[in-house]
Amino acid sequence: MLYVLRTTVNQKNIPMIHRLAFLSLVSTLLIIATRDVSAAEDRRAKVLNDRTEVEAMSEWIYNDLPKATADAGRTGKPLLVVIRCIP
């Protein structure tokens, strides 16, 4: 993002007051971008952790309906299918 700003604005032509505003804008955008990246990473980690945690519980099959259906057919048990978003 900083690269884009630097390559689209010729800083020599910017008066001091505008440079301060420019730096302020860059700082704000950097904070927002960092926060967005952090939120996206959190979300990704949640999704990956969810799979690890549920797979660790041997009584649950994770996201594999064909396997669950085959197991139900083999064992004669009914299926409990839970459709649940990752919180």
């Binding site: 999704v47 009914p78 839970v82």
Partner: protein
């Protein structure tokens, strides 16, 4: 739980929509099934914007599991009774085939890449379905606008800690006139065994726009049949404001306005009577297609008192229906709002 094979599905990608028809606004939904695909019952209901667990409970879920086990033990002798739990063939067999989703998603999550962005959320199925009607400029049917009605809409309020026991019957409601009483246990509806409120919703969701449903009820140790009369427009009293898919209805119908019924105090402040239309603007969308109302001059805390010349009371959910049934994208709807005691004429473009 160990009497079931338990599987958790976390995305709608690749979901067989012929098999798995449920309330796509839910973030928790359960199917109890045979391995051959026969559905014993569904579990999972919601009717409140803030309280997602108002209509469900661990006790109720446990009773639904027990009832499903009972149906499983009687299977396949009861196969015919369960046939109605399977839905009609949908227009698209998997979510990613809908035009609004096609090319953007695949049948699987991309665990190695952008896994979060690769996920189709269940509610996107309903959003995509509604877009088909809107973009084709065809009337959106009531069952598409008001999906999976809670039985409350006919006056029946089920106890969430039971399978399908009626907690209360609304005074003066159609259900009361039909003969329902508090404490009745709904056993069968349209011949289908009922193990949860979600099962009742399934039958209501697929019911006609008017007609009579046949309920078999356990009362005081005996079994009796009671009709459920569905009057024309019966679905339109459903409150759909809690649904995440109502966000896109707000884009289409109200240009990004989030509305609620004005309180008595707000009506009094605006010098409005108790009888007329009074929808309070709680939020005004700020960006893109959700900023159409803002750009048309609507402001937060306005009270809408007239829509297309009509001043009869309407909820936000009923307003969606009125506007989406009566107007096409690019139509303009005249409205009157009260702002700080003054009446203003505004025009809201439909999308």
């Amino acid at each position: 739980m160990d009497q079931f094979v338990s599987v958790r599905l976390v995305q709608a990608n690749g979901l067989n929509l012929n098999q798995f028809q449920f309330d796509y606004d839910l973030t928790f939904s359960v199917f109890l099934m045979n391995a051959d695909g026969t559905i014993y019952g569904r579990y999972g209901s919601r009717s409140d914007r803030r309280d997602a667990t108002k209509d469900i409970s661990i006790e109720g879920f446990g009773k639904a599991l027990a009832a499903a086990l009972d149906l499983h033990q009687k299977y396949p002798a009861n196969r015919e009774l369960l046939a109605g739990k399977q839905g009609r063939t949908p227009r698209y067999l998997v979510p990613e085939d809908y035009p609004a989703l096609r090319g953007k998603y695949t049948a699987k999550l991309d665990y190695e890449g952008k896994v979060v962005q690769s996920c189709i959320h269940c509610h996107q199925v309903r959003d995509a379905d509604r877009k088909l009607y809107r973009e084709a400029r065809t009337r959106m049917p009531d069952h598409v606008l008001y999906p999976w009605p809670m039985p409350d809409v006919v006056g029946l309020h089920f106890d969430p800690v039971e399978n399908a026991r009626i907690g209360t019957v609304s005074s003066g409601s159609r259900a009361e006139k039909d003969g329902f009483r508090s404490g009745d246990e709904l056993l069968f509806l349209e011949g289908q065994p009922i193990i949860s409120t979600a099962d009742v919703q399934w039958v209501l969701h697929n019911a006609p726009e008017s007609g009579v449903l046949n309920a078999q009820v356990s009362r005081a140790g005996g079994k009796i049949s009671i009709p459920i009369t569905l009057e024309p427009g019966w679905r339109r009293n459903s409150d759909i404001s809690w649904r995440v898919t109502s966000w896109d209805l707000r884009r289409m119908a109200t240009g990004g306005l989030l509305l609620r019924d004005a309180t008595a105090e707000e009506k009094s402040t605006a010098n409005l009577s108790d009888e007329g239309l009074a929808l309070f603007v709680e939020h005004v969308g700020q960006y893109g297609e959700h900023a159409v109302a803002k750009n048309a001059g609507f402001e937060k805390e306005d009270v809408i008192v007239r829509v297309d010349g009509k001043t009869e009371p309407m909820t936000e959910s009923q307003l969606f229906g009125y506007l989406l049934r009566g107007f096409e994208p690019a139509d303009n709807v005249p409205m009157v709002v009260v702002r700080k005691g003054k009446r203003l004429n505004l025009t809201l473009p439909m999308q």
